[in-house]
Amino acid sequence: MNNAVTIVMVEDDEGHARLIEKNILRAGVTNPVVHFFDGSSAMKYLESNGNEARRMLILLDLNLPDMTGIDILQRLKSNETLKRAPVIVLTTTDDKREIERCYELGCNVYITKPVEYDQFANAIRQLGLFFSVIQIPESP
């Protein structure tokens, strides 16, 4: 995967974050990972780096302490530049309505924890491949 892509992980549980990091590393994904433990700090980072959206991959947990993942997803997808960043929702709940809502809002993938790490790593790689092959127009 194109090493220029930064993986932005928004996850409040340290254990979960650690597991994800370890496993994607094991799967051969060596991109830098930026970790946020709550929604507001994540949003601050993302919004200030909006023009890097093409070079970000967001891993989003829905159960954050200060705001819901749905809120974040909504804000991301309504932001002109940030909406280009692919979002993988990684969360414990498999509530059908929640899943539908996420897809409606425009997430790319919805994965329920506990995660099948092989498949997960594959998904990341595929998305990265997508990035390197497809030409994304430069934002004006």
Binding site: T93, D95, K113
Partner: protein, 508 residues
């Protein structure tokens, strides 16, 4: 509020005497009408007789008239000798006879046998004889003798006698006539009276009927109002309870959500880091082995071997990890199961017409592999149609069939039979098997969540029947079990033929 009590209060019980009264009134009316008709008939014949009497009087007059005509004819002949006069005389004679005969026929025997009648006959005879005599004399040429007869007062006397007697007869008839008139009038008064009575009776019956009807209507209206009030009260209390249940239900849903997030989260960590431990253990074992015995050839792919004691430690490690992993898997399944049951309680039911035969057949087909492997057979008898939530019904019977195939008896080939019948507006389905059965003391337990019974040699969390019972209840039905340990079990599922509104509203 007791429905029977309120009906009694409204006096609905007092009505039965009314029809009796009405029947009596109508019976009396019929009697009156019949007697009235017979009276009218009598009156009619009475009137006929009156007419007869009047005619008799006229007939009597005609006798006198005929006599007088003869007298005039006789006088005329004697005076002028005209042929027309004698012709008239001769014509009138038989008329007189006829008139007399008429009257004789018309008069009652009491009169015709009386002296008056015989005197009249004599008088008439004498008069006629006198007239005949005078004519004879005239014809013989003895005109003076003829005149002498006439001048003889006897003729006049006979005439007068006849006339007087006829008068008497007339008077007699007249008084009889008057009697009859009086009788007739009395009869008419009676008829009028009877009819008036009938009219009054009709009016009374009418008034009574309308009073009865009005009272019944009032009672009915009162009953309806009472019913409506009861209904409203019932609706209100049902709404209140439903609201309470809804609140309770929502709390349970929130609970389920908490379970799915907050319980699952640590579970994810346990699972994940157990895997990490496994990986680390493998690395450690490899390194330990490498330390203990450097590779024989420089082939790194050849796994090095551990010393026996270290292998034991490695095996213990594996065993510990496997127990942890097994528990994690079980816990995950249990959480999923609880989530599923609580979510079921919230799903909106969609009633549709279900061909139960087709549904049961397809369920049997879907577990055909397991059925065959267990050496069992599923038979589905013709069952009636059901209108209910398809998903729930599928889950119920799928579960029951699964269980039946799972818990067979080793001693004999499994035979599972599904039957169904209608009882009023409920359908009763039975899933019968000849498996290992369930002991009486366990028959309630098996329906409890996470509880099982009997020999625990088949996989399962004790989930199915709890879920099945929850589903059956949701559809407005009941499930029961009849079983003899060692012989088999019959699960009876009773469902309403058509899914009602009550169960749908519970989850709204």
């Amino acid at each position: 509020m007791d429905l029977t009590a309120s009906f009694q209060r409204l006096g609905l019980m007092r009505l039965p005497q009314a029809p009796l009264f009405l029947v009596a009134a109508f019976a009396l009316l019929i009697i009156i009408i019949l007697s009235s008709l017979s009276l009218l008939e009598q009156n009619q014949s009475q009137r006929d007789r009156i007419v007869e009497a009047v005619e008799t009087q006229a007939k009597l007059d005609r006798i006198v008239a005929a006599l007088r005509r003869m007298e005039s004819a006789q006088r005329g002949y004697l005076i002028s000798g005209s042929q027309s006069s004698i012709a008239l005389y001769n014509e009138t004679s038989p008329v007189l006879a006829r008139n007399i005969a008429d009257v004789e026929r018309a008069l009652p025997q009491s009169t015709t046998r009386s002296k008056i009648w015989s005197d009249l006959q004599n008088a008439i005879k004498s008069k006629v004889a006198e007239m005949d005599e005078s004519i004879r004399l005239y014809n013989a040429g003895d005109v003076q003798a003829a005149y002498a007869v006439v001048r003889n007062e006897s003729g006049i006397r006979y005439m007068e006698e006849a006339r007087a007697l006829v008068d008497l007869l007339r008077k007699g008839e007249r008084s009889r006539l008057d009697e009859k008139y009086a009788e007739a009038r009395l009869q008419e008064r009676i008829i009028l009276g009877v009819n008036m009575a009938a009219v009054l009776l009709i009016i009374a019956a009418g008034v009574a009927s309308s009073a009865i009807v009005r009272r019944a209507n009032v009672t009915m209206a009162n009953a309806q109002t009472a019913l409506k009030n009861l209904n409203t009260e019932l609706e209100a209390s049902v709404s209140a309870r439903t609201a309470e249940l809804r609140v309770a239900n929502e709390e349970i849903q929130k609970f389920a959500y908490i379970v799915s997030h907050d319980l699952r989260s640590p579970l994810v960590n346990i699972m994940g880091f157990t895997s990490e431990l496994e990986t680390l253990k493998q690395t450690l074992v490899a390194r330990l082995a490498a330390l203990q015995a450097p590779p024989v050839n420089d082939n790194p792919s050849e796994p090095a071997l551990l010393s026996k004691e270290d292998q034991v430690i490695a095996d213990d490690f594996d065993e510990a990890l496997s127990f942890i992993k097994a528990s994690i898997v079980k816990m995950d399944r249990l959480i999923k199961a609880v989530l599923m049951i609580s979510r079921e309680g919230n799903r909106v039911l969609k009633p549709e017409d279900i061909d139960m035969n087709a549904l049961l057949d397809s369920l049997s087909q879907s577990i055909a592999h397991q059925t065959q492997k267990a050496g069992a057979e599923i038979k589905v008898d013709p069952v009636p149609m059901l209108t209910s939530d398809r998903l729930a019904v599928e889950q119920i019977f799928s579960n029951l069939l699964d269980n039946a195939v799972k818990y067979l008896s080793d001693g004999r080939p499994g035979l599972i039979r599904v039957t169904g019948r209608a009882e009023g507006n409920r359908l009763v389905f039975e899933v019968e098997d000849n498996g290992r059965g369930i002991e009486a003391k366990d028959q309630e337990r098996v329906f409890e969540l996470f509880r099982r019974a009997g020999a625990q040699d088949k996989p399962g969390e004790g989930m199915g029947l709890a879920h099945v019972r929850a589903l059956v209840r949701r559809l407005g039905g009941v499930i029961s079990i009849k079983s003899t340990s060692g012989e088999g079990s019959t699960f009876t599922v009773t469902l309403p033929r058509t899914l009602g509104h009550a169960s749908k509203r519970m989850s709204a």
